[in-house]
Assembly symmetry: D3
Homo-oligomer: 274 residues x 6
């Protein structure tokens, strides 16, 4: 069950409100790299968690923290919209500065939300929940979470660079810090479960006889004219410790030429197809 | 530039066509765990790759392989739709077997595609390209790719369990194998770049002074009544080797109580708000 | 800031797990009538609330409750998926009961989530955040909220009728009750602000001179052959107390025949259009 | 059956074409507050109407009017795009005014529609029909309609403020007026059916024994540190006249700690989960 | 401006209500091959029509007819839902017939619409307006319209085959007939404008000097091992009468090996990329 | 099976990088008129092709070419983003030129992709695969393909006009040329199959007795006050050679007044509806 306290998890100050930066910040709320996604992803993973219960708790506690991130980011968006032009009475006709603001901001911050945050990204596209990855497999889920936090920290870094507002930089430095922790905590679960060697391939419960293992450890160079890129993946032991990496160059098809024959007479094809 | 050869990458046999399994297989084509996603994800990552060119090639070569996976899966869907009921002339009214097939299959396999594959998932929801993660950061992208392949192999394993068709099991055992390789090849890039210690936190180029590092290494227990789950993430050195993990229990808010004050008179609020 | 406690807001019991009912329950999680929607809607309204701060608190407290509803519903979905068929080893080939279950359940509960809840509706369509209505106008928002709870209670009633599981009926009777309260609490805000007469038309801050009031109080009968439906809307005082309702039958167009003339030569039209 | 006449329902004049305002106007066509939504919502409600037939007619007649609103708004968008820059031959390189226009307008008004209206919102996101609320319950539907018209009138008011074109202001004053009527006509249906006391809780046909009425009339203060906001919803008779409002502060969970136990061996989890 | 009359454009009879067929019929309302799409497509094309005004009228008149098609199809869906099982009181537990109906029908016809039509397709996916093709080019638009009607008539034919209800067959035979006319009326516009030779390539207003015409008339065989399929497209005069078709086999790339170099230090890449 | 070679199909030069044009170019990648759509459309049509195998090959070969178009367009986007402002260190505060660039470019080119192409359109909306039209009917599919190429060439023409970069104009002149060929090659298939007279109506396999042919050849003037637009569609032989076109003016409804009666007591309607 959830509870709430009245103050924000972190302080939000905006020294120079900037409606265009409000638009940018939306990516951290409603973008695929944003906080709605991680909050919901950890929440749904927790609800489906099976096995050692401590991972369920880990997920739910961090989901709860991410909800608090949405909250202070939402406040930051609203503060950045302070003073945005909403009527022509406020501005000289054709003022280039006002025009630039209007052009660069999200018009729906005026038209739809009345100068506050929305669950959309920096293009105004609403977040959709298909981005909540929760597979029931703890290995796949931990990678999904580490990846979400990696893209989140990349985003926070880019936002940090885009703004010159000291308050916003301070808030973003907190987000960058928390994303540091969250990246590592999910990968730490994999370490605790024995590390990659024991966890790979995911799912590690697939019986070997369900896998055509002769195809499991070669890199396929599908290029007609480029040499195989050599590296950790092209030779040496596989990461799961079960085999060795190798390379197949200029692969030949292993299958047939596909053919579906004629169309049945009653399926709405043209007569010429049957 | 792309080229094509006439045969499939792997042989597709269907011994007992099953329209319901055709619906399930769609998840491997147009689901978020499926082949369109990885083909496009590696393709867009390759197009944006900066730094050592060999990673660009690695991405493009595997993108090309994934296109071939779409192709043989698409053929498998069509073969499973062979003999599906499309008109009432074919069946006795009220035949429970036919009814069950009709209920469990995707009706658009009859109505929209004329008994062939579609770029949709097992619910008939079209794939949308927001799932193509390509950030310009090789660390984030490699995690995204490993995760995509992990969820792909989880899916292939589940499909393997769902079918009892020997041909389908054979094809899926090949997919399971290739997903094994692909998981590891992306994580091998991280190993080659120095492993997690050097790559974390992602992006590793964020200047430390942009980060509130006092918040970077503690786990936040946001629960009112549950003990902190202890593990690799709650104590000991951080995975990036820069600090130590710790725990903050029952955290207090660090920020203010948010307030936006009154509504401006011209923004379409109710009078009572201003 | 959000917090969590380890137990569910309400007890969840499932006596006879039913994978098809799990699919139905998803509508209450990820449907437009569901709990993700109201949780996020009240949360975003709270973050944008201007005017008397108590409405902000009212919204945030109820948003927090709705998060707890997602949580127990998610548990109910997982419990209903207990024992769902995931491999052919478990069932006799062609067993009609198993086939019916497979046909009626969401295949992604097996393929994607591994037998747990997803943020999707009963068709498997992911929730998208465009359904979060938060306009910055407290009157519009309270109507949006009352409507959301009305559709939520309609849904809960229909789910109650569909199941014969005593545990599920008990849980749904709790949801029905809370939706009763929530419908009324949002409409009570309107009452407290003076009731419809004072709040209408929304926004009540639009200056009368911005409105062509000669068109504000007539019902337009656009039918060629049907009589005007008579009722509270066709005569008598308007609900805002400012005017009287009337009727316009067989209205004539007030505007021009639209014409855009020729296409400019450089806009990619056909030559014949310019 | 529908019919059409050649002139617009209301006159459209644009004195100073403004491609950026064309982009804003799109919200009134393809936004969630816009005319496609209400036209389709009333149309689908009418098609599903059960009970007294006059409500069906009321809905269909207004659906028909809303189609006419799309039509004149579409014309207004096209007229505002008159003279938009579509080729570099028309402008001096780097002209800041032209750049500002290009930046603020919807590029697809040039690239995709050839200078005419599209069924998209002010961010260029296409309208999707999930926003058509038609539940089969007249109470829920009337609230949905009143809400749609409230948000529509908020939007029209904001558009009115954003433009300084006399023709556009005239057209918008008509829209504001019609939204006034439409808000009230839907709420008038509720009044006619006995008002809120008789209609609440929606659906009013749910048998009381299906509801855990001990949970139906209290406000839940889920905050750890904020006092309960007091008002019409926290004490006094409920709006449905059946009970009294009360408050529960610092609620305790009523349910169990959720647990799903171990993963089954064949569902694609990691071995460590089973 | 639109008007409405009270009767349906065509009579709707359902002799044996079939909730599963109601689900199938939705494809004709809210599918990409359905009536909402064509109604809105012709409407938006009409609003953007430039050049000879008679094409605008042609489009608007047919848009109006398509609205009437939505209307009678919507009624057909509701009639097919008559008697659908909505509560367990109505059925014996485990009745296979009832289970099959429940499995094959759209659960949201019970849960969301209360047994009436929705603006969704046969998978329950809502129609989205991105499928409204209206380019401002009459040639492209006429092809888009002919294609929409072709796919519509394919769909109606498949629905006709799927049902054995005489009333539904009668209604669908009317739809098939109208789609016959509509296919031809749009292609007739192309004929009237001089036929393909004059209209191709679309847009026919592109100045020849904007086109690398040396690449305009050859078929590119991108296969490594399949012979060029020979036909009307591989030799002989081009359809626009300006050139001759030819074939290029085993094409060589004409461009460079792409390279983006190093990442800039401040864009959130990994250090190893710069 | 697919293969790749290292160079681009066509050379990409950008003389003056323009981040706003990068945003425009995205329409040619991820727009409905763009290359992902045609690549995937031809690919899925090929996978479902029935009848003469040469059409399958034709489709697959061109699908392969379109993948190469995505590739060089993606490179063009990245080159146009060269030098885009990503941090405030790079620019003088308030520089109007920089502000204009920021306003007109896609912010996600900075925030999400790190200065490279994305699978989105010019509004930043991700491509979704519902636009892949593949019906199993070769006539419908060829029209869909010709239409896609027509809208593609309209788009390329508009992009050509918008840019003044010689390199971009050169690349676009190649795209315009290939779209010329592709339009014609798909229509050439129809010609080869006997032309419109033999192919219409699509599907030409619908038995005449399934069609209410008395409604198949008249144009319906649904306007109350506009004369019937006269042309090739209103008189003379039908394009399929089977009948003659005629006109029906001021059509009367042929159907009944729809009525669904009362709501059943258990479906969650209001009491007043039953």
């Amino acid at each position: 069950m959830f509870h709430h306290s009245g103050k924000l998890q972190y302080e939000v100050r905006v020294e120079n409100p900037n409606p265009q930066f409000a638009c940018h910040l939306q990516q951290a709320i409603g973008g695929i790299e944003g906080e709605i996604r991680v909050a919901m992803q950890y929440f749904f993973q927790a609800m489906g968690a099976r096995g050692d219960a401590k991972y369920r708790d880990l997920l739910m506690m961090t989901a709860t923290e991410e909800l608090s991130h949405i909250e202070f980011l939402g406040h930051a968006v609203a503060l950045n919209l302070d003073g945005a032009p909403t009527s022509l009475q406020e501005k000289a006709a054709g003022d280039p500065v006002v025009n630039a603001i209007m052009g660069g901001m999200n018009p729906r911050h005026i038209l739809s939300s009345g100068l506050s945050a929305m669950p959309v990204n920096a293009n105004g596209v609403p977040f959709d929940m298909s981005h909540v990855y929760a597979s029931g497999n703890i290995g796949a889920d931990m990678l999904a979470n580490a990846m979400a936090e990696a893209s989140g920290r990349v985003l926070a870094t880019r936002l940090y660079n885009l703004t010159d507002d000291a308050g916003m930089k301070d808030m973003l430095s907190f987000l960058i810090a928390r994303d540091t922790m969250h990246q590592q905590q999910w990968l730490a679960v994999i370490e605790e479960l024995g590390g990659l060697e024991k966890q790979l391939p995911i799912p590690n419960s697939t019986p070997p006889e369900h896998e055509a293992t002769e195809h499991s450890y070669y890199f396929l160079n599908t290029s007609l004219d480029e040499p195989t890129p050599k590296g950790r993946w092209s030779s040496g032991p596989s990461l799961d410790g079960r085999s060795k990496f190798s390379v197949v160059e200029k692969p030949e098809p292993l299958g047939q030429k596909p053919s579906l024959g004629k169309a049945r007479p009653d399926v709405g094809a043209q007569k010429e197809q049957s």
